[in-house]
Symmetry: C2
Subunit: 612 residues, 2 copies
């Protein structure tokens, strides 16, 4: 009896097998023929490939089901054979593997793009992956391997579907990256890893596209944002054209040149993709001998990672205070409310662009206005924004239906704004966050209202954190909103919020505040707001919901980043303010912003990003 797959991954580095397609071609697969059909028509051929890899030393045999979704099988008129083809594939691999190897059920892309890039809805993608994954799981695979995905939105849908089928099955999730270090649809490795971990992956990494050197760089970038075990499944080098034929030149020895570094990074599964053969797998196996140490996950540093398709943002003590642009919110905004009622998105698009340009780290998206279909409006808003900018999103709604529409529409891992300590809110929102892999703003109020003192707010935060943990949501995915009460109405409002932020920070939780609310009803509001902002940043606030168009807010933020040691050499500050006179206007030139820490780039770890 083999030990559970994830236990094996923690105890030793596992070798996954190599390429299937080329092996099948060598064994008779014709151009235009479905490789997966061979599970039905030539099971012995498939088994032969598995056997070759098993004999080469593979610990994991991958089923011949890469194109096993209905969308793919439909090309061959096999769309009604999904369950049978996938089940047979597992059976074949299972028989070869016996007790010597694990069976990984392979799932590849559908070949279609998800909305709004393509025409496949989230629900369609979800259904396709559910069908295939159910067949693989029911047939008894040990692990599912999502391979060669180009689009984080599609692989995210696959993960969400699998996790609905089984909370426990190990899932390997891999995207393919190009030489510039982004996936075909523009995702950097960090955005991919953040999204994959949030959606429920057990192991993340990359397959195909690059050789071991390229994959190593990808995995280094991923390691900055995840403590999951990693997987490397490189091609045998970059393809070259030789006498009109594409050839992968990597020798078995070259495949193992990065092993020590890979192991140091926490790579726990190593296999091969295009161009690899049993000889490569044997070399990999050989190179690992005597180098097996147990996996120790890097400690969670408490950072809340949020991602979009093309970027990502950090909320945490080690990072600049994240600026959540507050302006996509119809409260008090007639024009935007009107557009929401008319189904228009020009205000949203403009604000997404402008807030991003001015330095917003994240964009709050609120479409709550009376008399509209809020879920539809949320989807429209998310599609509009993700088409215009790469800034990660904060979905802001009190409607669980609208939140779910936004969660389906989003490309990556979003921040939900918000859950609170009320029974009803917890019951509705925690499952959504878990299912769709979102982080959570936690308002420190409950059925008894807003606690007047910091102590009460901390108690609510702790209660939400406990319930979130029970629901499988990580503590580092919580951002506690300590609540800003208007100081002109509530003279202790600022002091209580400051104390609450300090306490929440001491608990190791991330925090946020709707800063501007502090100054309601007073003249020259940005003066009060920016002073309060400075104070709460020093007290440990890790994100803030602010109007990035208020110059005093941005100058407080830029200054605070220097003072709190988060703008090294004041580079961002100097870029923003060099040569500017203070007093007349303190708004920095917009153009200068791109190199300032206001930009999502600055929140990104180094590594592969430096090469972009």
């Amino acid at each position: 009896m083999k030990m559970p797959f994830m236990q094996a991954v923690r105890e030793r580095v596992l070798v996954l097998d190599g390429a299937m397609g080329t092996m099948l071609q060598e064994r008779g697969l014709k151009a235009g023929q479905s490789p997966e059909e061979m599970n039905l028509t030539a099971p012995e051929v498939v088994a032969g490939v598995h056997r070759a890899y098993l004999e080469a030393g593979a610990d994991i045999i991958v089923t011949n089901t890469f194109g096993g979704t209905k969308a793919k099988l439909d090309h061959y008129g096999l769309g009604d054979q999904v369950a049978r083809i996938n089940a047979e594939a597992v059976r074949i691999a299972r028989e070869v593997a016996g007790e010597d190897a694990y069976v990984a059920g392979s799932i590849g892309p559908t070949g279609r793009f998800v909305e709004p890039v393509g025409d496949m809805s989230f629900d369609e993608a979800h259904a396709l992956f559910t069908e295939q994954a159910k067949a693989l799981i029911d047939a008894g695979c040990d692990v599912i391997s999502l391979e060669t995905f180009l689009d984080i939105k599609e692989i995210r849908a696959a993960l969400i579907a699998i996790r609905e089928l089984s909370a426990d099955i190990p899932v390997i999730a891999m995207l393919t990256f190009e030489e510039k270090g982004r996936s075909v649809l523009g995702s950097p490795p960090e955005a991919a890893a953040i999204t994959l971990e949030a959606a429920g992956a057990s192991i993340v990494g990359s397959n195909c596209g690059l050789g071991v050197d390229g994959i190593y760089d990808i995995l280094c970038a991923m390691r900055k944002v995840t403590s999951l075990p990693l997987i490397s499944q490189a091609n045998a080098g970059l393809p070259i054209l030789k006498d009109g034929v594409t050839v992968f030149p990597g020798t078995p020895d070259e495949m193992t040149a990065y092993h020590d570094r890979m192991l140091g990074l926490g790579v726990r599964v190593i296999g091969g993709c295009c161009g690899t053969t049993p000889a490569h797998i044997a070399a990999i196996k050989e190179a690992l001998s005597g180098k097996q140490t147990p996996f120790t996950a890097r400690e969670d540093d408490g950072t809340t990672w949020i991602s979009s398709r093309g970027s990502f943002a950090a909320i945490g003590k080690k990072h600049p205070v994240a600026l959540i642009g507050e302006r996509i919110n119809p409260t008090g905004k007639k024009l935007y409310s009107q557009e929401l009622r008319e189904g228009k998105v020009s205000y949203i698009r403009r604000e997404a662009l402008e807030q991003t340009e001015l330095g917003a780290t994240l964009l709050d998206v609120n479409v709550g206005t009376p008399g509209i279909d809020e879920p539809a409006a949320m989807e429209r808003a998310v599609f509009c924004i993700t088409g215009a900018v790469q800034t990660p999103l904060v979905l802001d709604s009190s409607s669980p239906e609208a939140l779910e529409a936004g969660l389906k529409s989003a490309d990556g891992k979003v921040l939900i704004n918000s859950v609170n300590g009320e029974e009803k809110s917890l019951a509705a929102v925690l499952p959504l966050a878990k299912k769709y892999g979102a982080a959570l703003v936690c308002l420190t109020l409950d059925d008894a209202g807003i606690p007047a003192e910091a102590e009460g707010r901390v108690v609510v935060a702790q209660k939400i954190a406990d319930l979130a943990a029970a629901a499988g949501i990580k503590r580092s995915d919580l951002v506690v909103d300590c609540l800003t009460l208007t100081v002109s109405a509530e003279p202790k409002g600022a002091l209580v919020a400051l104390e609450a932020v300090r306490r929440v920070s001491e608990l190791g939780l991330n925090s946020t505040l709707g800063v501007s609310n502090i100054s309601f009803g007073l003249p020259c509001r940005p003066l009060i707001s920016s002073t309060f902002f400075s104070m709460v940043m020093a007290a440990g606030l890790t994100s803030a919901i602010v109007n990035v168009k208020e110059a005093p807010m941005m100058s407080a933020w830029r200054s605070a980043m220097v003072l709190l040691g988060k703008d090294v050499n004041a580079a961002g500050y100097i870029d923003a303010y060099r040569g500017q006179a203070v007093g007349a206007t303190v708004q920095p030139a917009v153009a200068a912003g791109s190199a300032s820490p206001a930009q999502p780039e600055a929140a990104e770890p180094e590594g592969i990003r430096g090469r972009l």
Copy 2:
């Protein structure tokens, strides 16, 4: 054997005797004759007055030496009799008092004004009071009573002189106030009490000038700033002209009408001044019967009180953050340096006026420039500033001689800037602060330099506090400068200062920072400075050395006062910014400043000030 005088004051309320002058007139003192000469020429008459008050129930007999300084006796050609007249007076009172009463050696004003109001130097005043007080103390009086002073500068000189003669002798210090609640030379009771306590008074209060109701209001105001035992020595009502003769209409019963309130306030000595007779004293004694409770000094709330002749300022947690105007400092100011070399004061005067107008709570005075007589320059600067504004002073020099010149020139209790933890500095500055009754800025550096971490700075602060305590300087008279290192050179500079301020605040010590230094070398410096200022105010900073002409500094301060609950109903903020646009200029109209918390007025307690 009587118990020590101060022990008696703590155990019960003592009755002091009544008027001496009118009693002597009734017993043969002629117009144009020296009352004090009677100590030599008619000791039995003087003894008779004492005996009448003793029999009426007085616990304290006051010697007939009110005009016993050489300056006064010179008018009668008795200037060479100071020692004899004062010694005889004590002997006469001592004989009458026996073991039944204490003898208080009376000292009144010299009749001359101290520079720059008059032509008497501090040293001359000091010498006159030293001569008289030495005679009284040597003759064995139990306590000295400084009475009927009009000028806090003169009574301060007297106290400093007495404390050099004896650290232990109890000293009662009383100014006379007019009906508007200020002394003739414009001191409010709070400024008087702060100055008197600092200069070494054991009991403070007021005599003459007002009836018991007026004195009660004066003492209420004093109580806001001192926890010393108080003394009331009222006239028998306000004088009225009756048939061409001045008459004090207060009956003995009227004299006692305020007793309960007086006792509640901590008045521990009650006597009478003009118009009071043994009948009044007997009534006072009678009214106290059965109302004796021990004195419990109000707990020191940690406030550092600073005074000028006409105003006062508070540094402490319960008060707005005190703004120390930094601009009277030649560093980097060519014009001012030039004027210092030429002995001119126009820059100083202008900056004193402008900084006060803009909201400075205190004015830093630094005259340190190469090649000048710094002590002389310091005296000139102090005289110039005290002639122009009432804003209390911070004497800023590394020269003990210059500091001493400033301490002699000042009207009230100043803040010395600074002592530090170096042996040499402690040895030079602590005695000066003790002798002249000054508060102390304590720089957190020592012979080993500036500690890099907050912990080290707190250790230095604690060391200075311990040595200051040993030197007789109150902990609440220390203002710890946690040191601002330029963040562009010292990336942790702001974080260390923030932490140090927090720690110092937790120790119950007041704090200050030279805020602007944080931003040296960066563009748009006020943005960084004001953000840092906001942070340190929230961390518990109680004063700051700032450029009040920088609009962002003042807006940070005004905003912080609202946020930290020190600008009730945001009244000061609204006055300053109502109707102003933010962004273009954030400098409030100067005219609006007068009602804002920026003004020294706002730092003043209520009570009698409300009537001014």
